[in-house]
Symmetry: C2
Subunit: 177 residues, 2 copies
């Protein structure tokens, strides 16, 4: 039997819980897909629409991607999809000629509200009978993990490899083909 690498008890728990975490994440995203499907939304679109809804002042695409902790490029693509679906519009940004502001349309607002209305009974059913204290602890631990795992605690920036230099080939991803 190979000697296990030394892990603290806490690290053992994190390790063993990871797989369940992945499965729950997939299951929730899947449930979101099903809930919002007939509204023309997917889980991802719902998420991004939510980021726009929550933003108190109109944001640029890059700003929203920072809020979401996602990469700029994919957020841009989905926002363009939502613009095509007339749930968002891009309005001129007086502060930046190239970076328009993302604004919710009436249809976008209605769709988001409808999705959240569908989500309510789902969330009620899923948490039915679960201990409130446990859920609060769960919330606290998740938030703590998010903070600790953030690329640089305190900096919300997306480190985008300033590619120009081509300093390293970065052959990280295997390309078996």
């Amino acid at each position: 039997m190979p000697p296990k690498p030394a892990r603290t008890p806490a690290a053992e728990i994190l390790t063993s819980v990871t797989m369940d975490l992945f499965r729950v994440d997939h299951l929730i995203l899947n449930a979101g897909d099903r809930l919002a499907a007939h509204l023309g939304l997917t889980g991802t679109r719902w998420q991004i629409l939510g980021a726009v809804v929550r933003s108190t002042t109109p944001q640029t695409v890059a700003g929203l991607s920072r809020d979401l902790g996602s990469n700029r490029q994919n957020v841009q693509r989905v926002i363009h999809d939502l613009v095509r679906l007339e749930m968002l519009t891009l309005e001129p940004n007086p502060k930046h000629r190239r970076a328009p502001l993302v604004v919710l349309t009436g249809k976008g607002r209605q769709t988001y509200d409808a999705a959240m209305k569908l989500q309510a009974p789902w969330a009620n059913a899923v948490t039915q009978g679960m201990g409130l204290d446990d859920l609060l602890t769960f919330q606290r631990v998740i938030a703590e993990l998010r903070t600790r795992l953030a690329p640089r605690p305190g900096l919300t920036e997306n480190i985008e490899v300033r590619g120009k230099g081509k300093t390293g080939p970065a052959t990280a991803t295997t390309n078996p083909g």
Copy 2:
């Protein structure tokens, strides 16, 4: 202000914690990618290799996909990648002529062990100073959510739409293009 759909306090917590859950999931998968990159692994390949390692008796691809809670088709693709990388082999299954058994190779074992060895200090660092009780509760809640969100509690099967009949177009997924 639009009237919020009625949610129990527990459902409110689940709703508000979802975004952090997604972010933590992405961050962990990303950390896994970085940890295992130079071993020729990705987060997904690591996961699937782990499923093979944990299986006491050799499984078929479909069996492994059930273990992983993932869909058969994508697991098959990744397993073929791992076979190409010589980390897995497909051996004849006396019970089923078309469904070979997935077996770990020496290289696969070594790669998996190396990945777990890299993961240990990472897990130690991430959980450094976190309360053990909180982590245990976290583990319990995640497991409970996984059970509750499972397609059918108790049935491990993947409901695959028996397509033949073409009874309904199932126009769930939006196709904006």
